[in-house]
């Protein structure tokens, strides 16, 4: 009997050793840094939420990221964390009577914001709608592909993050990895997001996109002027979204977003909602604007209108 007991305990020890091995393997696979990993890997692992970083910590984080990206892509990458400009609340206007559905904005956005090319991630989706049905999303077609746009009987409605004043995506995030900045832009901390995708289920506009695999971004196409909360290269397994080109509009006050610049028909307008002289305020005053899914009370700062 005692012999049997000893054997059983021994068997248990063996299985525990095996189990510990298994645990180690899983931890390794989870990419938790090993003992001999360079200090920067540990720094990344234990990095705090962006909003809890002190000035010194933030500088260190930015320097670490610049070094990492510059090494990976073989060219100097600048990562800034320019704060919001006081007295600015960004608003966007989209003229549905002008949009021709050419999707230049889609690819202009991809180029500026360093989205993954393989698989493709698009922050802007252009819907082809039937004129007789109006804005009926159930009838929308995203994958239209004629030789020439616009097609007869159709109009086009680009949809991107509506930069809600009351964003449902922010409310649901279990770790506060996404939030609305003072200038009204909803941002994601790619180093804090756990990739649960609850925000994607909560967003009524399909504005949030997930890095299902390691983003494929050719070094030659990398835009090197980046923002921590915007177009810096993203890791696998996190959510990303339109930030009104935060790297442009904060670093260079008054600059347009890439989609506004690239639009060949001038359908896209952008400006400061708090400035009574701004173009966006002019069109809200003088055109009849509407917002998407107003019944959900998300209060978008993205205004659709028909100028003609």
């Amino acid at each position: 009997m005692p012999n049997e007991g000893v054997r059983a305990v021994h068997a248990h020890r063996m299985s525990r050793r095996k189990m510990m091995k298994g645990v180690a393997a899983v931890l390794g696979a989870l990419a938790i840094p090993a003992k001999e990993a360079p200090a920067s890997v540990w720094d990344a692992f234990f990095q705090k939420n962006f909003r809890e970083l002190s000035k010194e910590d933030l500088d260190k984080v930015l320097a670490r990221l610049e070094k990492e990206y510059s090494g990976r892509y073989g060219k100097a990458v600048k990562v800034r964390a320019t704060p919001p400009i006081e007295g600015v609340l960004y608003g966007y206007g989209l003229d549905l009577s002008r949009c021709i559905g050419c999707r230049r904005c889609v690819y202009g956005c991809v180029d500026e914001n360093n989205q993954s090319r393989d698989p493709q991630i698009h922050w802007i989706r252009v819907l082809q709608l039937n004129k007789e049905r109006g804005v009926d999303l159930e009838e929308a077609e995203q994958y239209y592909n004629p030789a020439k746009v616009p097609e007869k009987g159709h109009f086009y409605m680009p949809v991107q993050c509506q930069q809600c004043e009351s964003p449902p995506c922010v409310k649901v995030c279990p770790v506060q990895a996404t939030w609305k900045e003072r200038d009204g832009i909803t941002v994601v901390d790619y180093n804090w997001c756990i990739g649960c995708r609850y925000c994607m289920a909560a967003c009524p506009y399909g504005a949030r996109h997930f890095n299902w695999k390691k983003p494929g971004l050719p070094a030659a196409e990398l835009v090197t002027e980046t923002h921590y909360l915007g177009n810096r290269p993203r890791p696998v397994g996190v959510v990303e979204k339109c930030t009104f080109c935060i790297q442009r509009v904060r670093n260079t006050p008054g600059r347009y977003t890439a989609c506004v610049e690239v639009c060949p028909v001038g359908a896209r307008k952008f400006g400061n909602l708090l400035d009574p002289e701004s173009e966006i305020r002019y069109l809200i005053e003088n055109k009849r604007v509407f917002i998407l899914k107003e019944d959900l009370n998300t209060r978008p700062k993205f205004y659709y209108f028909y100028a003609t």
Partner: protein
């Protein structure tokens, strides 16, 4: 302290001992767990792109299984209420098995959530103090809290009951009764919070229906207990524990009532959507009849409907409820029916068509299926380990010796052949 340590050592001896059937069962589970681990390693290596989930359908098979298993964990409370509130003896003897099922189901839930997230290395962001738990704004934060409380609560209750029984003592009511009573609202809370997780999303009309939480509860009181009934018979057949017929039939009767409420609530939902016929009908139309030629879920949901209705009648009629053939058929029908209805049947239509009207037909990939298989095997493995200790305790084959410290182990087989069992009882 030494007494507890000896008890712990005794449990380790117990789980490492058993008949050939016990070893065979455990080894097959370990093999399946290894398969699941390999699938997970593959997924970690390549990203969640190896699943069929995409931006349009951003939650799939993993979250469906999670949702279903939250329901299975309800089995415990359906046994706890008659056992401890109404002090009904036939169920009181086996209530601990329900609590252990809840523990196993909770572990599986947590595993399914873990494999679903894109950055499992950042799980610590959820831990208050170290990370930031967005409580009380995020329903997912609530879910993390209530699921963990429920897991710990059931584990403590089950271990406490077993330990007391092992010492041949009665549980201390001042400690035990508050915990048991608290476990009842806690069980309700895990379902309510999980339902609210979907329910609170105005962007998804299929989930944004007030009836969701009551439906969750009703279906939970079907699937978990159906599983329990089958388990009770297996346990009764292959181990020495005695589970009385009347306990099993009582559980079956409770299932009939729950299934009626479940079907009624579903009917109310279906009526409202189809009769009012607004644009919010699209997801339900997709589920039951397909949408614009896309109909992946249609055969499954009708299977579930037929299964659930059939099982309802089998459990309602006393003759079929108290006949083991029809009873077991009913249990399987309910388990499968609710698995479809409350798993993929709940999660996928919430996301199809997506918020901009796109239809992406989701069907899990091999990786997702294998990984899920591994997690189910893990759940069974844990449940078997718990039973391996609990059952000898309940049958009096594992108890503290006369010195009050050293454990006595009589049961060295656990899973026995039936003829062997008969022979043994003859000898007794």
């Amino acid at each position: 302290m030494r007494k507890i340590w000896e008890f712990f050592k005794g449990t380790l001896v117990l789980v490492s001992k058993g008949s050939k059937a016990y070893y065979a069962w455990m080894v097959s589970l370990l093999v399946l767990m290894a398969v699941g681990a390999a699938a997970y390693a593959y997924q970690l290596q390549n990203g969640l792109i190896v699943t069929a989930m995409r931006d349009e359908v951003s939650w799939g098979f993993y979250i469906s299984n999670f949702t279903f298993l939250v329901g299975v964990a309800a089995a415990a409370v359906l046994l706890v209420i008659p056992a401890y509130v109404y002090k009904w003896k036939p169920i009181k003897e086996i209530a601990v098995l329900g609590e252990m099922l809840a523990v196993s189901a909770m572990v599986m839930c947590l595993l399914f959530v873990t494999v679903d997230i894109g950055r499992p290395d950042r799980f610590w962001h959820l831990i208050p103090k170290f990370g930031i738990l967005n409580f009380p704004q995020s329903m997912l934060a609530w879910d993390v809290v209530v699921l963990n409380i429920y897991l710990v609560l059931n584990l403590v209750i089950a271990v406490y009951i077993c330990y007391k029984h092992y010492n041949r003592e009665e549980p201390n009511p001042n400690f035990f009764n508050p915990m048991i009573l608290f476990s009842i609202p806690a069980a309700v809370s895990i379902h309510t919070v999980t339902a609210f997780l979907y329910n609170g999303l105005a962007a998804r009309p299929f989930w944004n229906a007030s009836i969701l939480a009551p439906r969750f509860l009703a279906s939970a009181f079907c699937s978990g207990p159906a599983f329990m009934i089958i388990l009770f018979q297996v346990i009764r057949k292959y181990t020495r524990i005695d589970i009385k017929n009347e306990a099993i039939f009582k559980v079956a009767e409770l299932i009939a009532y729950s299934m009626f409420i479940n079907l009624f609530l579903l009917g109310a939902e279906v009526f409202k959507e189809f009769y009012s016929d607004t644009i919010h009908l699209a997801p339900m139309h997709y589920l039951f009849f397909g949408l614009k030629g896309h109909s992946n879920l249609v055969p499954y949901i009708w299977t579930a409907m037929i299964f659930n209705v059939t099982a309802f009648f089998l459990f309602l009629i006393p003759q079929t409820r108290e006949n083991y053939v029809t009873l077991n058929i009913g249990c399987v029908l309910i388990f499968v029916g609710v698995y479809i209805e409350k798993g993929m049947g709940l999660v996928i239509p919430g996301l199809v068509p997506d918020v901009l009207g796109e239809i992406y037909e989701y069907a899990p990939t091999g990786t997702e299926l294998l990984l899920a298989l591994g997690i189910w095997a893990t759940g069974f493995f844990i449940y078997t380990l718990l039973l391996r200790v609990a059952i000898p305790i309940l049958t009096g084959e594992f108890y503290v010796g006369d010195d009050g410290v050293k454990p006595v182990i009589v049961d060295t087989e656990f899973i026995r052949r039936v003829d062997h069992l008969a022979e043994q009882s003859y000898r007794d």
